[in-house]
Amino acid sequence: MKTKFVALRTPVIAMGVGIAITAVLLLLAGADVLAAFGVLLSGALTSPSRISDMLMLLSPLLLCAVGLTTSFAAGQYNLGIEGQMTVGGVAAMWFLRGYHDGSPVVLFWIGAVLCGMLMGAVWAMLVAVLKRYMHVSEIFAGLGFNFMALGLALYLVFGPWKRPGVASMSGTEPLADVLWLPTITGTRLTLVTPVLAIVMLAVVWRLIRHTHWGLQVRACGLSALASVRMGVPATRRTFEAMALCGACAGMAGALQIIGVYHSLVPNVASGIGLMGLLVALLVRADVRWVAFVALFFAVITSGSIQLPLALSIDSSISGVLQGLIVLAIIVARARRGEESA
């Protein structure tokens, strides 16, 4: 019981410290602190359309965070998550461009998501291979591949896939209307993405916590040398974990194309992967907390959009709060002598 209490105490204190420092910053900016926190926490929940906007952020965030807990479990800091999301979107768009009037729409949706997952997995595997065989840190390789993915998307948007006559940052020729995932009436939200995110959460939770495969992945993350010594196929498990993470990110990218943007935009990832990294840094390989933390982050990020209107405070305060909480947690862990992953 005692250990459980201690395990919970650290995040709670860290969250308190993060909130306290944010409050000080708000005070220094001359803002009404309580009102600002009120808007942050409830701004996303005051109307059905705001709730649906929050869920539109939460779903891809959850997919990325779930994927990242897998790569974290394997000891890999997959900073390439944004790029994996981007190429997932590119692959989905590539598949959907093959659509002709009368083709079975559902098959094209499934195909696009699978293409996105496959491409995301391949993009992540490139990083894993560079790390394993060329000794390139996955952090730097991942960042490099992010830029390459962005370059690929930009090239397609302004080059081969540009709208006839106009090349614009706003994206390629939009998908045919029938290919847009159906939304709940009155909102832009499709139910497919949240449902798939929850399914992936359940699958990864089961894999990491309750299978021998997950045990081996965690062992590789904790000590690669010792795992190899005990006969764990460490290279394979690390590759598989990275591929699974890339597949989750690719799925998120594909769903952003089919369900949100309806065309390929250069910024498919739009920082969601990085926010997923913050979530994963907080929960590490502990899948149980992913949903709560992702929900919290999505709520305050969406809520912060109301801040400039309601209180003339810049919405970036939500990012400040998230960053401070993560920092406080990492400091608390370091003080306890734990590693950050």
Binding site: H212, W213, L215, A219, A226, S227, R229, V232
Partner: protein
């Protein structure tokens, strides 16, 4: 400087590592601190040197109460500790390592002091040698000199003879005697009775976190010390060596040459038979570890071939178990429990995760591991971690490679471990090990390989060797006659 502690208590969770410890250490003497693994010796020394803070109790220096905050603070007050593993900056030279922690370093002054202490203590140190080029024993010498230059009046050494050569042990003992002759105090932590007898003026014995003998003036008989340490008597089992069999070998090396960054070994032509315990003898760093890594298939030889049971050895051979000395980095996974390790080593991906409980409980009982099946192994003492690693050797292992198998274990645990390895041997497994302790090599090996000057001797039956003859071979005397 007189150091004394009163009513010191320190707990880690439910474990009471030190209970009501009260001792006064007289200046100008070597004080032995003796106890089996987990008795609380290291904890007590870490309290004295400011690494840990006591839960309760008081410490006095020259009868003034002090509270130590950090190791740096302790050094300023005059208490310095040489840890089990030397902590230094490998790319620095000796001078830089010593200077970097001092208040106002003046190179010329430090150089002169290094020369002074090296001469006084008989350590062959030069200020310009790089740390990474030194042996563990030499790095320990640098550490001692560093503490003395920093002004330590009390020097604490935690198991300092682990991992250093016999000659370095002799040099260390002479140096410690020279240090106390200047009026300073030495606290010497060990679980080896012989070292207490050879070196110490007094002995303090800990058992399960409590004092069972305080500042007993030497000589104290070994029997008395053993009874205090264990609370019971035990006798050494007499062991006889097995003759060298001639049937198909376990390992066979054909014209094999091995190397690492600094060292070349070979070419070697050797057959290591089935069902033997083979000790690797030689000065520290004569290629024993390199040899083992290759037999385990972790590294491929430059040239030639290594066969295991007639086929070339591969990295993932499940019938070869390698137990590295660096337990927490290479051996086990600190954050995982024994039960998780049992599961990890199963090859079936489909095995249910709940099933390893009974097996783990069995291993805990068989190997007397102080743990529960679900306790993370990093929470165990070093000796218990070692027992856990030994317990995890698969039943199917036909080749067992051990680096310092009983390092950090007390005498009773070591005997238990060796008994189990002998059973493995009798069932046909070939066990190879190296140890810093020559008497362990002599006591438990059926045959011995001597490493000297980049070469390995042929397999020598232990019964043909005396400890003196082996020591001579290790030093290279008569080595040419025993190479194949």
């Amino acid at each position: 400087m007189h150091v004394s502690i009163q009513q010191i208590n320190k707990s880690f969770g439910p474990v009471r590592a030190n209970q009501d410890i009260t001792i006064a250490f007289a200046a100008g003497q070597i004080h032995g601190i003796l106890g089996e693994n987990g008795a609380g010796k290291s904890t007590l020394m870490k309290l004295l040197s400011g690494v840990y803070k006591p839960d309760s109790g008081q410490m006095f220096i020259n009868d003034h109460a002090v509270t130590l905050g950090t190791p740096r603070h302790a050094v300023q007050i005059g208490i310095g500790m040489v840890g089990q593993d030397p902590l230094d900056v490998p790319v620095f030279n000796v001078l830089e390592n010593i200077a970097c922690g001092l208040q106002m370093p003046n190179d010329a002054d430090i150089r002169q002091q290094i020369t002074h202490w090296s001469t006084t203590l008989g350590f062959p140190l030069s200020p310009d040698q790089r740390m990474r080029d030194l042996t563990v024993g030499q790095r320990q010498q640098v550490e001692i000199v560093r503490l003395l230059i920093a002004g330590s009046d009390v020097v604490i050494l935690d198991e300092p003879t682990t991992g250093i050569t016999a000659a370095q042990v002799d040099a260390l003992f002479a140096a410690l005697k020279a240090i106390v002759a200047t009026g300073k105090t030495v606290l010497f932590v060990t679980h080896k009775l012989d070292e207490i007898v050879a070196l110490c003026d007094t002995v303090t014995i800990l058992r399960a976190g409590q004092l069972v003998g305080t500042q007993l003036a030497m000589p104290v008989s070994k029997e008395t010390m053993l009874i205090a340490m264990f609370g019971e008597f035990f006798t050494h089992a007499q062991l006889s060596a097995k003759p060298i069999p001639t049937d198909a070998p376990r390992w066979k090396l054909h014209d094999t040459q091995l190397h690492d960054a600094t060292f070349v070994l070979g070419p070697l032509n050797l057959s290591l038979p089935k069902g033997m315990i083979i000790g690797l003898a030689g000065l520290e760093g004569s290629g024993q570890r390199l040899f083992m890594h290759h037999l385990a298939g972790i590294t491929d030889p430059d040239r030639g071939q290594i066969d295991f049971n007639g086929t070339p050895i591969t990295r993932a051979n499940p019938t070869v178990a390698w137990l590295p000395a660096d337990r927490l980095h290479e051996g086990i996974i600190g954050a995982m429990s024994l039960r998780e390790h049992v599961l990890l080593m199963r090859d079936s991906l489909l095995a249910p995760l709940q099933t390893a409980y009974e097996k783990s409980t069995q291993l805990i009982a068989d190997y007397a591991i102080k743990a529960t099946p679900d306790m993370p192994l990093q929470q165990l003492s070093g000796g218990n971690q070692q027992r856990a690693m030994l317990a995890l050797i698969p039943e199917s292992a036909q080749g067992i490679l051990l680096e310092h198998p009983t390092r950090g274990l007390d005498a009773v645990s070591a005997m238990t471990i060796w008994h189990r390895l002998q059973v493995r041997r009798d069932n046909g497994a070939t066990v190879l090990f190296f140890s810093a302790d020559l008497s362990e090599v002599m006591q438990y090996s059926d045959a011995i390989l001597v490493f000297f000057g980049g070469q390995v001797s042929r397999l020598l039956a232990r019964d043909t060797l005396s400890e003196e003859a082996l020591a001579a071979l290790i030093g290279g005397v008569g080595f040419a006659e025993v190479t194949a």
